[in-house]
């Protein structure tokens, strides 16, 4: 019984971490119309910032601050926000396709920095021995406690974004998303609003990265491997229904469940050496899932609320 409880809790923790990131990406895409293909980069910024701030020290690290975890999480958000602000100021004026290419480049640069600035990031070794809240309670309570932290983060991010979208800011964002030229004609500073969406969304993604680092108690350069992180969060946003906060959470749940259940099935049912290959088949499946949703259910699981007659995921 306890095994299943633990499995459920750890699954929910991961769902929660992805949900935080999906919420952030959803703000960028659903409200800002920004195709951020560099999610992994901001994940890394948040994870590494929190790791650097809270690490008790390791052979490669030059500095060890050993700050408490909440400060680490906070620092992760600030760092991601700052990086997003800097990049957004330069790149957000680009057209959507070009912006997408640029965000891939950003993730690549961040990946290089992480790998090469060993004194700060531990280089190829990463940063081990990260503190995890409630760790001293032992299983399963330490996990349940951590889940509580994750849920708290979701609630905070969700509440903040709901407030934003209901506010005049949110209405302006939706107007801009659906018709940028008209909005600009009315005199709204389209660029400033998009930058805000980009920054706030990146802060949430960075927070997700930090939570992940503390969950695994380790962060290494593999975590910046762009494809899987970026891709799966995108699929979650599309499946859930973009422009929609609850949809983002639901999408995270749905996609992660599909991902884990296929893992469960293939690891139990297939012989060992097949199981490795099965991982690729599962990624392929997620890729196909994206195509099916894009073609058949472009509004996702939870279509946009009333007020938007089109409800497309296509930011305008």
């Amino acid at each position: 019984m306890e095994g299943y409880l633990l499995y459920a809790v750890t699954t929910l923790i991961l769902v929660g971490i992805y949900a935080v990131m999906a919420l952030g990406l959803n703000l960028q895409w659903g409200y800002g119309g920004i195709f951020n293909a560099g999610v992994a980069g901001f994940f890394a910024v948040g994870a590494y910032t929190s790791a650097i701030l809270t690490s008790p020290g390791s052979p490669q690290l030059v500095h060890a601050f050993a700050l408490p975890v909440p400060l680490g999480l906070f620092g992760a958000m600030i760092a991601s926000g700052l990086v997003a602000y800097a990049i957004g100021r330069i790149c957000l004026r680009l057209e959507s396709d070009y912006l997408a290419i640029a965000t891939i480049g950003i993730a690549e640069i961040l990946r290089l920095v992480v790998r090469n600035q060993q004194a700060y990031t531990g280089g190829a070794f990463g940063i081990p021995n990260l503190p995890r809240p409630f760790d001293g309670l032992g299983l399963p309570w330490s996990m349940i406690g951590f889940l509580g932290v994750v849920v708290l983060c979701i609630v905070l991010v969700y509440a903040a974004q709901e407030r934003l979208s209901r506010s005049p800011w949110g209405r302006v964002m939706r107007a801009i998303r659906d018709n940028p030229r008209a909005a600009a004609a009315v005199g709204k500073d389209v660029g400033a609003f998009r930058l805000q969406a980009f920054v706030i969304g990146s802060m949430a993604i960075g927070l997700g990265g930090a939570l992940s680092a503390h969950y695994f108690k380790f962060i290494g350069p593999e975590a910046t491997e762009p494809l899987f992180t970026t891709f799966i969060v995108w699929v979650m946003v599309i499946v859930g229904g973009s422009g929609n906060h609850r949809g983002a959470i639901l999408g995270a749940l749905a996609v992660w469940l599909i991902w884990s259940m296929t893992e469960f099935a293939t690891s139990r049912l297939l012989p060992q050496d097949w199981a490795v290959r099965a991982a690729y088949a599962r990624v392929l499946l997620i890729g196909l899932l994206l195509q099916v949703v894009l073609q058949r259910y472009p509004q996702g699981l939870l279509p946009e609320r009333v007020g938007d007659p089109r409800g497309r995921p296509t930011g305008g």
Binding site: F35, A100, I109, L227
Partner: protein, 298 residues
């Protein structure tokens, strides 16, 4: 270091790398110009080409350069299928939806490649090659000579195709104005299929050449995406000849930026080589988005 050493150690490798980028960039530029979106799966089509060539090398005992046409044809066929399944439904959708779909296709291709061929790097041939001396001054590895030759042949073929065949002109026409092309009675769907075939064949060639240069790995294509896209934008989108210039420039800039030219130090630490493409890309997009040869702007 002396000029000759400089040329042999940095300029020639830069040109070889640049020519690989050029072949990929022509395909990206053509696709971007006619289909009007940034095709994120282009790199993985290149990887596919590289692995198809590998299979031909293993099964048919060919040399890599001999397997090239087979790899190109195979990739072309697969691309037409991919268009039918994943891109055709979005002909009238905003380009960002296509970018998203292509992102998914990239992952589908890569997982399929890993499923079929595994996740390791593979080389076309083992053993060390002795460099060839040209005119007793320039030193170049045999495989690099094959790559330069192959790229040159492909570039000539592309030029002849675009300038002198009816289909090539129709592609240029569609790149200029698809509505007008339709008004001429041109079967735009057929032209689109051919565009996919040619774009994919070019991507596959880039993949094979990259594999010949170092080795082929499931992420070879994706890793090339930034420099290839950067080269296409640098040359001007929709300008195939610009893509060639952009590719060569990008290769040279990457090599030279990380070469120890300044008394043993380089402009950029060699570890940051893959960041060069991004810097060039952003610089071009901010300063002159239409590129050197004034291509399209979307």
């Amino acid at each position: 270091m002396d000029v000759l050493g400089f040329v042999n150690l940095y300029v020639i490798p830069g040109l070889v790398l640049g020519s690989i980028y050029a072949v990929g960039a022509i395909g990206v530029s053509l696709l971007f110009g006619i289909l009007r979106f940034a095709h994120f799966a282009h790199g993985d089509l290149g990887t596919l080409g590289g692995f198809l060539a590998l299979t031909a090398v293993w099964v048919l005992g060919l040399q890599a350069i001999e397997a090239l046409p087979l790899a190109m044809a195979g990739a072309a066929g697969i691309a037409i299928l991919l268009d039918r399944l994943f891109y055709k439904p979005f002909r009238k959708a905003p380009s960002i939806v296509l970018v998203m779909a292509s992102f998914g296709v990239a992952l589908i291709l890569r997982s399929a490649i890993q499923l079929i061929w595994g996740a390791e790097s593979v080389s076309y041939q083992s053993g060390i090659q002795r460099p060839i001396w040209i005119l007793d001054t320039f030193r170049i590895a045999p495989r690099h000579l094959w790559i330069l030759g192959g790229v040159a042949a492909i570039v000539v073929a592309v030029h002849v195709f675009l300038a002198h065949t009816r289909l090539g002109k129709a592609m240029r026409a569609m790149s200029d104005d698809p509505a007008l092309a339709r008004a001429c009675g041109i079967d735009t769907e057929a032209v689109i299929r051919f565009t996919w075939a040619i774009g994919a064949a070019l991507a596959a060639a880039a993949g094979v050449f990259a594999g010949m240069d170092v080795h082929i790995h499931p992420s070879t294509g994706w890793d090339m995406m930034l420099p290839v896209f950067g080269a296409a934008i640098l040359g001007g989108i929709g300008r195939p000849y610009g893509a060639i210039a952009g590719g060569l420039l990008m290769g040279l800039i990457e090599e030279l930026a990380t070469a120890p030219l300044f008394f043993g130090a380089s402009l950029l630490p060699p570890a940051y080589k893959s960041g060069v493409a991004f810097a060039v890309l952003v610089a071009v997009l901010l300063v002159r988005p239409t590129g050197i040869f004034r291509g399209k702007l979307f």
